[in-house]
């Protein structure tokens, strides 16, 4: 590529915009609101418990987002209403799909996931193996607490990420939501087409399956031992369409990979990237340890996350090229005889495009 067409100039004695432009008077209001929200949230966490039921989570997120929109233009509020409707529709469809799974009547997968796990681990059941080696009925170890804490992040991590993106960048929120909705859509489709019995149920003597040795379902034990608890409001019972045979894919494992994967490009140090990516591994190990999921459930969840990111990454690149092509065409139409930068359009050799000083 030749010399850049543009140059960045830096003039001496420049004045900061913050000095020239009057400050937004609502900034202090929003900051005070966020501080108050944080205090109340922490108080609620320690006194009443971690908010985990969907409606309570939605209310808390709604309050957070409204604080972030205080003093914003009417257009931003209109977008917010539209976004909330889309978001609510997505979750309602998700909840409803769990009911459809019961009614659709597709054959229940009982042994298949267990057999895949046995194949992957040379004849061993990972759930049983982990509980034999690490679980002690009357003792709670540090890893019980870590696993339990990781398990409960499922209820807040994606929502916190969504809320922060919603307030800070609508465009990034939309990018996040497209991938997230795709993940939920594929997962829900699989819940309907491939209802799968989770390990704890497959091992539970109360059910007829008993294809695994008995497993303890001790998800909340570590969490409670730290003096913490989950907050579930009573209205959850009115919406209790929960599908116990929605083990494939694991949404816990999916979300645990999804959130770090979305923010990974913004993290520069390699060691920090690696550290962040240990979280989905901890989550997967916890799920297997608790008997909540098979390993293959977690793997399926990760694959769907990967496919969702790949698809939307491709689609967004395609959209950018389509828009750029329209621009190049318009420029070439206005200046006939000039060659179009087809290499840039095709993406074969894209210059960095930054105008340098």
């Amino acid at each position: 590529m030749g010399a850049p067409a543009g140059s960045t100039t830096i003039a001496p004695d420049r004045r900061s915009l913050a000095v020239v432009v009057p400050a937004d008077p609502w900034i202090m209001v929003r900051r005070a609101g966020f501080a108050l929200f944080a205090v109340v949230y922490v108080w609620w966490f320690f006194v009443k418990g971690l908010i985990i039921d969907r409606i309570s989570v939605a209310i808390s997120v709604g309050i957070f987002i409204m604080i972030g929109h205080l003093g914003r233009p009417v257009r931003r509020w209109a977008w917010l209403v539209f976004d909330v409707l889309c978001y609510s529709a997505m979750w309602l469809a998700y909840e409803e799909s769990r009911g459809w799974a019961d009614r659709a009547g597709f054959p229940l997968q009982v042994e298949a996931p267990r057999n895949i796990d046995r194949f992957l681990f040379f004849g061993t059941d990972p759930n049983v193996w982990m509980q034999h080696h690490f679980y002690h009925r009357f003792t709670i170890y540090w890893y019980d607490k870590v696993a339990s804490a990781a398990y409960f992040t499922h209820f807040i991590f994606p929502v916190i990420a969504l809320a922060i993106l919603w307030v800070t960048s609508h465009r990034e929120w939309a990018r996040f939501m497209k991938r997230f909705a795709t993940l939920l859509f594929v997962a829900c489709t699989m819940f309907v087409l491939l209802p799968t019995v989770p390990p704890w149920m497959a091992a539970d003597p109360k059910h007829s399956y008993q294809i695994l040795e008995p497993l303890a379902r001790h998800t909340g034990r570590g969490f409670v031992s730290m003096g913490l608890k989950g907050f579930v409001n009573t209205w959850q019972t009115a919406l209790d369409w929960g599908n116990a045979i929605a083990a494939m894919p694991s949404l816990h494992a999916s979300f645990a990979l999804f959130v770090p994967a979305f923010f990974l490009p913004r993290i520069k140090p390699i060691w920090l990237k690696a550290l962040v990516l240990t979280f989905p591994l901890i989550m997967a190990a916890s799920l297997v340890y608790f008997g909540e999921h098979y390993v293959v459930d977690a793997l399926a969840g990760w694959i769907i996350v990967g496919l969702s990111f790949l698809f939307w990454g491709w689609f967004e690149r395609h959209q950018r090229r389509v828009r750029a092509t329209r621009t190049y065409t318009a420029l070439d139409d206005a200046a006939p005889g000039r060659a179009a930068p087809s290499d840039a359009v095709a993406g074969a050799s894209i210059p960095d495009g930054t105008a340098t000083a």
Binding site: G2, A3, P4, A5, G6, S7, T8, T9, I10, A11, D13, R14, R15, S16, L17, A18, V19, V20, V21, P22, D24, G71, P73, V74, R75, R171, P265, R266, R317, R320, R321, V322, R323, A324, R326, T327, Y328, T329, A330, L331, A334, A335, P341, A344, V345, G347, I350, P351, D352, G353, T354, A355
Partner: protein
């Protein structure tokens, strides 16, 4: 990597859209490069809604397809009236919108933004090409316009 956000100011937009405008060739040259950066996801391009509204829909969807709209609200306008610098009303509005959107880079053909703590993209001088002027016996070429 987070793309760099760049506001295309009114003069720049006008120069790109109007083939008869002064600085059109330079503006197009810079704009092509910015669009290349947009394709490579190193740039995000913005313009004020008031600026884009001056152009037909076909132009906005064609020539300016990669440009995102920064909507100007009533509050932006009232805040721009209180800008503490001797600038035009349009300029004050751009500064307010850039401040609120936390954008610190502007593509322009003029020098209006030079006084502010911003990254300013302007057309660079055209690189010299071919043999030195006069080497072939031709008359020396006029230097390309620099803004």
């Amino acid at each position: 990597m987070t793309p760099r956000s760049i506001v295309l100011d009114a003069g720049f937009i006008q120069a790109v859209a109007d083939a008869d405008a002064p600085g059109h060739a330079d503006a197009v040259r810079v704009y092509r490069e910015l669009v290349d950066g947009y394709v490579a996801r190193t740039n995000r391009l913005f313009a004020l809604s008031t600026v884009l509204a001056a152009h037909p829909t076909a132009t906005r969807r064609g020539l300016f397809a990669p440009v995102e709209v920064l909507y100007v609200s009533r509050r932006h306008r009232s805040d721009s009236a209180r800008v503490g610098a001797v600038v035009s009303a349009d300029m004050a509005l751009v500064l307010v919108v850039m401040d609120r959107a936390k954008i610190r880079c502007v593509a322009t053909l003029g020098h209006d933004f030079d006084a502010f703590d911003l990254e300013i993209i302007t057309p660079a001088p055209m690189p010299a090409a071919g043999p030195a002027p006069g080497a072939t016996g031709e008359a020396p070429q006029e230097p390309s316009p620099t803004i």
